[in-house]
């Protein structure tokens, strides 16, 4: 079972005041801390679990800058065998262009299964996986919460709305986009990451992939990033904890739900 897993490094946004850059096309990234995209963390774990069960290899790929190698090292520490970073240089990227780059790179490899996350926590696009599958001409399924490999097929659970799963069989090779909660990603220690430095991490540029100008032309352009439009918003309750608690308890009483 040879598995390719696509991963992305994204900024941590909880408890952070995001600032918009001067061009108003993105965020100011100088002060941000980065992590592996949560969905991709589950995808790496799933790839490693399948490899441990069935044998084979796991290759982690990212399209990104040198700093993004951090997530590849992490994937190697989790059990991936090799890693590939494709440097997009100063190219403008959108989900489409990223999918073309990944398609070209993966197209030269041998694989039975490709895993992506359902969505990246920065652009919340949820499109790259399905596009890569289409580019490679293989079957795909999205929002996967369980995988069982049997006789050249993957029996998968697609999570639908409202507490319902759709079970289906997908012929391999296939691309599955992984939903959080599918497994329990293993803990990665600094030691583990250091040890994984022995594993191969290849770097390549776009030129060597032979992409066409159309492949590299974004189909969507972020014209402007802006703060959420004003809403009425919440009435903020101020004061020390005791005063806040008192206000909240009165509120519950008023709404008829306190004991």
């Amino acid at each position: 079972m040879d598995i390719v897993v696509c991963i992305k490094r994204v900024p941590l946004i909880q408890e952070v005041d995001l600032e918009i850059n001067d061009a108003q096309t993105g965020v100011r990234d100088e002060a941000l801390a980065y992590v592996i995209n949560d969905w991709d963390n589950y995808a790496v774990e799933e790839a490693v679990i399948l490899k441990e069960q069935l044998g084979g290899s796991v290759t982690a790929i990212t399209v990104g800058s040198e700093a993004d190698e951090e997530v590849l090292r992490r994937a190697l520490a989790m059990g991936a065998d090799q890693a590939l970073r494709i440097d997009p240089g100063s190219r403008q990227l959108d989900g489409f262009v990223i999918s073309r780059i990944l398609t070209k790179a993966i197209g030269t490899m041998t694989y039975d299964l490709i895993l992506t996350g359902v969505q990246a926590d920065d652009d919340n696009g949820g499109m790259v996986g399905s596009m890569v599958a289409e580019g490679l001409g293989i079957g795909h399924a999205a929002v996967i919460t369980a995988i069982n490999i049997k006789d050249g097929e993957a029996v998968v659970h697609t999570e639908l709305e409202g507490g319902m799963d759709e079970v289906s069989k997908v012929k391999l090779p296939a691309l599955l986009s992984i939903q959080t909660g599918i497994n329990e990603p293993r803990y990665v220690s600094i030691m583990g990451i250091r040890k994984a430095r022995k594993k191969e991490l290849k770097v390549t540029d776009l030129e060597s992939l032979g992409l066409s100008e159309d492949d590299l032309t974004p189909r969507t352009v972020v014209e402007q990033v802006f703060f959420p439009p004003e809403t009425a918003g919440a009435e903020m309750i101020q004061g020390d904890a005791g005063a806040v608690a008192e206000t909240l308890l009165n509120l519950l009483k008023e709404k008829g739900v306190s004991k």
Binding site: I13, Q14, E15, V16, L18, G95, S99, V118, D121, D122, N124, G126, M127, V128, G129, S130, M131, G139, H140, A142, V143, E159, L160, G162, G163, M164, V167, S168, V170, K171, S177, T180, P218, R219, T220, V221, E223, Q224, V225, F226, F227, P228, T231, G233, A234, E235, M236, I237, A241, G242, V244, A245, L248, L249, L251, L252, K255, G256, V257, S258
Partner: protein, 325 residues
Amino acid sequence: MGHIFVIAEHRQGELRDITFEMLYKARALGREHAHTLTAVVLGGPDSGFGDRLAPWADRVVVMEDDRLSAFDADIYTAALLKLVTDEAPFLTLMGHTPWGMDLAPALSVRAGLPVATDCVDILLEEGGPVAIRQIYNGKLYSRVGFKASTGYMMTVRPGAFSLDEAPPEDGAGEVATRALDAEVPESRKEFVEFVDTGGGEVDIAQADLLVSVGRGVGEAENIDAVKALAELLGGTLSCSRPVVDRHWLPKYHQVGTSGKTVKPKVYLALGISGAFQHVAGIAGAGTVIAVNKDGKAPIFRVADYGVVDDLFTVVDALKEKITSG
């Protein structure tokens, strides 16, 4: 003047709300810009969907075939490719749902049409269509333009547009039936069954007071503190998805699109950021109170009352007030 296509979504014989939300928005856009509105529905034989959609659109295109009974990205992509190639709609809308996320990006690549996903608004401007999206889980918005094309695709966030109860009075679309093309390939996917994953000991949908905890709780051990508060208040414990993903609480506690839709009189959100998949589940709540350390958390935009503080400080203070009488 061109065509707007809305691809209907249905499951187990029912058209889903997102279908009508898209039709509502597409109809408004069509009126304003003189585009015609076509609802497209792929389904099994004798689905009856054509007649159900007719009042909402200028035209309904129905494809019925055994192979279309269950959603299948392979077959749906092939069928829709033929349709969008033949009719060249100016704008094609699908739901940003698990099925739409599987189908739309692949179709956009095959048809050579640009796509923007998870759109919360659609503008038709001189220079072309513009999608309004949320990024960074709703902390920011983006205005997205497209590379010039003959047609454009967007997937629409469920709940972004309102839902009319009754069909428009002047609506009476003609229903055209098309056969599924013979050259549709064999699918690489086979539907097996639907399984229910949401059931359990407690039905959070019945609760009047939900004390709901998010990833902000930090670790499994800390859940007990919130559970104790819920008990003291006579409320029911619920949570956001990461809490279930980490097995801190069982799935039946989860609120949101892939969990439960709830309608408590009061929803107390502790350490929940307010991602759309979560807040979609609390649209029916009477009063929403949010406690979050981050004053910029999107949850404060949907809450009625907010407290910017550490959730444990507030939880402890509440417990103390209750027990000391």
